[in-house]
Subunit: 493 residues, 2 copies
Amino acid sequence: MAKELKGLTKRSENYSQWYNELVVKADLAEQSAVRGCMVIKPYGYAIWEKIQRQLDDMFKATGHVNAYFPLLIPKSFLSREAEHVKGFAKECAVVTHYRLKSSEDGKSVIVDPAAKLEEELIIRPTSETIIWSTYKNWIHSYRDLPILCNQWANVFRWEMRTRLFLRTAEFLWQEGHTAHATREEAETEAVKMLNLYADFAENFMAVPVVKGVKSETERFAGALETYTIEAMMQDGKALQSGTSHFLGQNFAKAFDVQFLDKNNKLDYVWATSWGVSTRLMGALIMTHSDDNGLVLPPKLAPIQVVIIPIYKNEEQLHTIDDKAEAIATNLRKMGLSVKYDNSDNRRPGFKFADYELKGVPVRLVIGARDLENGTIEVLRRDTLEKESVSIEGIEDRVKALLDDIQNNMFVKAKTYRDERTINVDTYDEFKEKIEEGGFLMAHWDGTPETEAKIKEETKATIRCIPLDGDTTPGVDMITGKPSARRVMFARAY
Amino acid sequence: MAKELKGLTKRSENYSQWYNELVVKADLAEQSAVRGCMVIKPYGYAIWEKIQRQLDDMFKATGHVNAYFPLLIPKSFLSREAEHVKGFAKECAVVTHYRLKSSEDGKSVIVDPAAKLEEELIIRPTSETIIWSTYKNWIHSYRDLPILCNQWANVFRWEMRTRLFLRTAEFLWQEGHTAHATREEAETEAVKMLNLYADFAENFMAVPVVKGVKSETERFAGALETYTIEAMMQDGKALQSGTSHFLGQNFAKAFDVQFLDKNNKLDYVWATSWGVSTRLMGALIMTHSDDNGLVLPPKLAPIQVVIIPIYKNEEQLHTIDDKAEAIATNLRKMGLSVKYDNSDNRRPGFKFADYELKGVPVRLVIGARDLENGTIEVLRRDTLEKESVSIEGIEDRVKALLDDIQNNMFVKAKTYRDERTINVDTYDEFKEKIEEGGFLMAHWDGTPETEAKIKEETKATIRCIPLDGDTTPGVDMITGKPSARRVMFARAY
């Protein structure tokens, strides 16, 4: 097996390199000819489609609808909201011209200087501004509210240091943008979507998350409150996996979106926005995978069950084909996605390693002796445990096994995280423990100054102020000033 | 009803204006703050999602997989394929900078001149170049072939005159890009996708199409052959609704993509590309809709059945609610999408007009007297025929009615088109008939010169050389030179 996986670095040797190699070797994504932009390959995209479909169903079940807003944003829109522009102006792609022409020697094309735009256009880094300029025309009275729109789109942020899925210049995401008549309703919406993201992360991705609010420093540019779900990777670093923002009336004021309330009084509209991106792919990979490759939760695996025959001659293969195809058909009737791989150009050992690399949750192997004995070999990808079981009733057994794998993956990840989530009471201890990774629960005086000092000295940031958990007051580990509760620190992706 | 539809121009008065108004009034799309870019509103997007889902299922059923390639393309890529650059360089959005900064007065943002790109990037007008630069790394031997990738994406072409859905600067589409070991296999693929598009247009959109190949003049920039499906709108103009290109080895040569064939000989890879876009929305609207609004084929309608109660008091409403919700539940169990609209802020007459405007295929109305009599009023949107039927067995009746509407819409559109498809033998007759619209089948000598003359003098273009139909030879209506068969002329969108 080592041969087929040639070159996959072990996590213990170099976690970062292991990740980079795995993304490429498992055919998930690769760098493109355009700096910082990735190609999402078919196998990676198939996982993203599963994520999309499930989230989309959950959005619709909570009353949201999809729409589509322009890719390009007039430059002046960005500066309408004072905080927003600070957050996004520094990393955007700017369209300045709308035509090319042939060079004088006719061998290439050059930008036509005559085709300069009067106002430059920005490729959306996020769509609050273009959407609120649109909502202005949609909203007149409380009867037009709420608006609960989501959009699946590509966005672009000119990142200097990029990594596949985790931080790319272009990425795919969904962005919800809602408009409400009251502050309370908007705040409820922001929390509802946070909970939806947490539900998705835990019950579909099998990734345990901590729900919380960001400190002011880490807040979305233009929000009054940013809610977040934070996951722990196997190197003990945090990965922000989804955010939901309560925007107050900031964007309504920036784009002058007012409505007549029930008392016929004009007021600005209240807003939220919330999003998850292809970054979730990074969370999925880094939470579960091992030195043999991907480990995918059954609910998001493009192939849930693979069946591989082992045979010495055509006659044996024919007999195995019949049995395997019958099992595959039965499993598909149960709604499972099954691949029967009887291709003759790859040896079984190669196939084993390849499907392990690809993270297929359950592998069934049928050999000639199995047929004689009425048995079949079952391997579960999460633990790599293998057993020979009766072929009779294999379908129910596979179904139960998939449920068990989904559950086990979550429990394993949660146990890992909980063991590495510790209370820390002194700054010395903090500086020591942060080197080992993990989530450090510490008291903080609530000031950006202390937060900045800790970040500078330890590279740890406040990931969130958790919504649940220990709320005992204490004193800041550095300044000794009062702290309302412990907050969660970690180094982060 | 006239009141609620206030201002929808009649088709007979001004077809073009009728279309523009309908798209906006039916909440399908609207202009955005960015020139030529549209906002696709939730109701319009819901139809597009139905189109997407169905096409995606059909692509996957024919062995295709989805992937995602970068939005931006290095400028130099465009000029690699000589014909391709001529077709696309003139209408593209050019990214030249990657950062903004505050203006000196601090009141706005300006492009940071220090952040100029070494090589400009183009927002993809189509993705052949970036995809073939990627395929170069994926393809080494015949064992790597075929590659059957599709991508759902936004693309951008700087159009001067735009119309919602029909021609917009940014639009949404899918683009398939396949790579093959032999010419025959690629040609077969191009025709297969043409047939898939025709199948979708006719059996889901209820839009009859003519399948054919484009003349050299109308061919995709970089293709050896462009296949097309052409539909006729209610004003007799043609709408190109989908194209499938046999690209030969042009892009493989431009990006140096070679493979070792079974005989261990190096050869360039054969290619196809094929796409349909949000333009299909325009075809859907213009083929079927009437002066009351949209008429949607049941298979693509976001709401297939609407139920509206008519009541004088709360007690009546409660009784009707029970009955209506039972019917809605039964219909949903049959897989139909049903809306029960018992909202009390709109009168029934307003609701009737609104759902007609939105093109909901079947409307059920229940009043108090209906409940007494055990009847229900059924209206079919395509013919606006109304009848009172027994409430008993209404579910099966609705199901059958939806099938009938789907079928009737296709037959009606096909009859309309066939009546307006005529043979024309002289240029005088051609010039007279083209003013009435319709498809004119005429003999052509096969030269670009004659084609250009006809286009200049009549605004008619060769929509396609049909794959089926009359193949009797004749003589060109202008030059008298031999013609292999009649080709199809029309004015087009």
